[in-house]
Amino acid sequence: MSECCCGEKDIYLPELATITRMQHMNETELFLHLELDSGKELGHMPGQFVEVSVAGIGEAPISNTSSPTKSGFDLVVRKIGRVTNAIHAMKEGDKLGIRGPLGHGYPLEDMKGKDLVFICGGIGLVPQRSLINYVLDKPEDFGKVAILFGAASFEQRLYQDQLARWAQNDKVQLLETIDKPHPEWSGNVGVVTTIMNQIDIDLANAISLICGPPIMYKFVIMSLEQANVSNENIFVNLERRMKCGVGKCGHCQINHHYACQSGPVFRYSDLSDIPEAI
């Protein structure tokens, strides 16, 4: 074994980043703001992700949730396994290994001037936030924005501060729903498809962006198709198991696509003939 090689960059080698701010949003979700120790910006596009390393534990792919218009970058990590547990046990000032930005973000050029409809289930809001904030920071480039957010239960209504801030923006129509009724909740009850008819935007001419738990996609897409949205105007964000994040390890393959390379953001028309996608 040796430490030298032929000069090319090691695509598996994380660089260090420091957690400069963190906030436990609830028992399972943790917000982190990170800055690269190199002082450089990550340089990501909305929709891209990073591989986060905790040395000794492993790596996990995590979406960038901040707009590249801000310095540093934000992650929201759900506590669900080894790496994510370990991240939850950290404190401000601790260091994480970061590889990225990785993957294919949203095709911003194709969205210019268009109305955007974000349909998010639970933690699916996290990757979308990077684009929402980007769009709101560049209002002249995009049309109106609708944000539909569905939570499984009242307790799981995350990101309330963020949602409240968006709601204040004139460009934004915010619609919320929870799956099960709750005494303190007077808003809409039902899965996210039940509020789609309340959107003020003409769906057929807008771009719809979906991110949420695996079972959500099929139903949302059915509703969009009923509203005459063409598959070219639907974008989905797909999660798969990933080990390398750079198209080598094979885990994230969806039929012939590698989610880490062609995705995680896909134009639905590129997937419609792909049985394993949705």
Partner: protein
């Protein structure tokens, strides 16, 4: 450079010299009643008349387990590279083509420099097949002969080898050899032509270019369910395949609990948890989903990704390795061909 000829004795001397140099030399040897690549300690052990090796030479470019980096808990990651020089002797054409494919995977888009470092330090001596194995179907896959990737290609013409050395590394080894005569080259061509038709224990009933199109229409065919019913999800078909390259990555710490190693190891898409994510959602939960995935990778996905003919090189290893006897790719493609019109 012109094509050379080298007698069997001369080759044996060449191998002895390589071994004596102290550099790592590995080649095909007998293992019980089979053959395997392994460290060569004597030129006499080299068996270029073998039929097929148990494991493919992929184990040299992607070892079963390989350290990628060391780390200190809390930060500092340090890459690790394998820079040992290696001469590998006896790679069959189908395995050479498989290596060429993996080369492409690991050097396209983002370059995997762990892979390329190891690969650059290798000298590859290939050889045309002398004895067809019981399950080979390289002729069907267009992989019975090979024209690139090696440093030397040896063809057994009876009393000697014709040796083609397209690279400098290869030429350096053959600098003392005489040129092959027209007669030698004719003999070589005869061997290669024979192999192009005779390495075919399981003939495929279509052209390989037709496979993607066939598979396009075969996603819901009952054959997947039928075969996969007796699949152990043991991944043997993946492990022995020269073109499989998927891997897993794991961290382990040392006893000080402060430093450790991140390493990668062979994985396989047939294994139950290959596409499982946290929260226990498995994107290919059913045996037939995983079983189908492998055959699609070989016949459609990887060929499309790499722009090549096929990602199954017809070595037949998976046929031998599969205990329930269901892994034969030709068997499945031919079954589909019976039912599906191209």
């Amino acid at each position: 450079m012109s094509i050379k000829k080298i007698s069997k004795e001369e080759l044996s001397q060449l191998v002895s010299t390589l071994i004596a140099s102290g550099d790592r030399v590995e080649g095909v040897q007998a293992k019980d009643d089979k053959f395997a690549f392994g460290p060569l300690t004597s030129a006499d052990d080299l068996r270029l008349d073998y039929d097929v090796t148990l494991l493919s030479p992929r184990k040299y470019v992607l070892p079963p387990v390989e350290s990628l980096m060391t780390f200190e808990v809390g930060g500092r990651y340090q890459s690790e590279y394998d820079t040992e020089k290696l001469t590998l002797i006896g790679v069959h054409p189908y395995d050479m083509i498989a290596l060429n494919q993996i080369d492409q995977v690991f050097s396209q888009d983002e370059v995997d420099n762990h892979y390329t470092t190891r690969r650059k330090n290798m000298t590859l001596i290939a050889c045309d097949v002398v004895t067809p194995s019981e399950n080979v179907f390289a002729s069907s896959m267009g992989t019975a002969t090979v024209s690139e990737g090696y440093d030397i290609l040896l063809t057994d013409i009876g009393d000697a080898y014709v040796a083609d050395a397209p690279t400098e590394k290869g030429q350096a080894l053959l600098c003392n050899a005489a040129d092959a005569t027209a007669e030698d080259l004719a003999k070589r061509q005869a061997v290669q032509e024979r192999n192009q038709s005779d390495l075919n224990r399981h003939p495929l009933n279509c052209k390989i270019e037709d496979l993607p199109q066939l598979l396009e229409k075969a996603y819901d065919h009952p054959v997947w369910e039928e075969k996969a019913a007796s699949c152990f999800s043991c991944g043997s078909c993946n492990q022995v395949c020269p073109t499989c390259y998927c891997f897993n990555v794991q961290d382990d710490v040392s006893w000080d609990l402060k430093s450790g190693t991140r390493s990668r190891a062979w994985d396989g898409c047939l294994l139950e948890n290959f596409a499982n994510v946290a929260g226990d959602h498995n994107f290919r939960k059913k045996r037939n989903d995983r079983f189908r995935h492998r055959l699609y990778r070989k016949g459609k996905y990887v060929p499309e990704k790499l722009g090549i003919g096929t990602a199954c090189v017809g070595c037949g290893r998976c046929i031998t390795a599969c205990v329930p006897g269901i892994a034969n790719p030709v068997d499945i493609y031919n079954t589909l061909l019976n039912d599906i019109k191209l």
